[in-house]
Symmetry: C2
Subunit: 85 residues, 2 copies
């Protein structure tokens, strides 16, 4: 079975986000003054095959821990849906 | 009222994603051979104040069109939730 994993990676709340600060300033410069905060993260769509949803979830967790995220400063969540083969 | 907008930016399906290809190769090199495709996008959390959810949605759309995304090669979706002040 094929699965689509939508992975959301964000900086931990305690970690400074200079990219987000820059975007906030840029929005203010464009007159979006109601914006008080921006945090920038990553979004990944991974297509993978696995025997079951549980196996797919385990694989996605392993990928995130080993390669896709930096566990020191980032956290992640993901959603798994079955995809057409 | 304060709102939190979760914005997901992805490359259009017709646009090549070299970063995603690189991640796919890296995953294969780490023995995640069941991965067939990776697309990399951006994820942003924007905190803003507005009178109503409709006004907030209009603001977020304007921000995305004018600054946060490149409408030539990217598409976006967003979710709005009310946040604590």
């Amino acid at each position: 079975m094929n699965f689509l994993a939508k992975i959301y990676v964000t900086l931990k709340a305690s970690v400074l986000d200079p990219q987000g600060t820059t975007v906030t300033h840029a929005l203010h410069a464009q007159n979006f003054l109601s914006v008080s905060d921006v945090r920038v993260g990553k979004y990944m769509e991974v297509t993978l095959s696995a025997q079951s949803k549980e196996e797919a979830a385990t694989l996605v967790r392993d990928m995130c821990d080993q390669l896709l995220t930096n566990p020191v400063i980032e956290t992640y969540t993901f959603e798994l849906t079955e995809a057409q083969s």
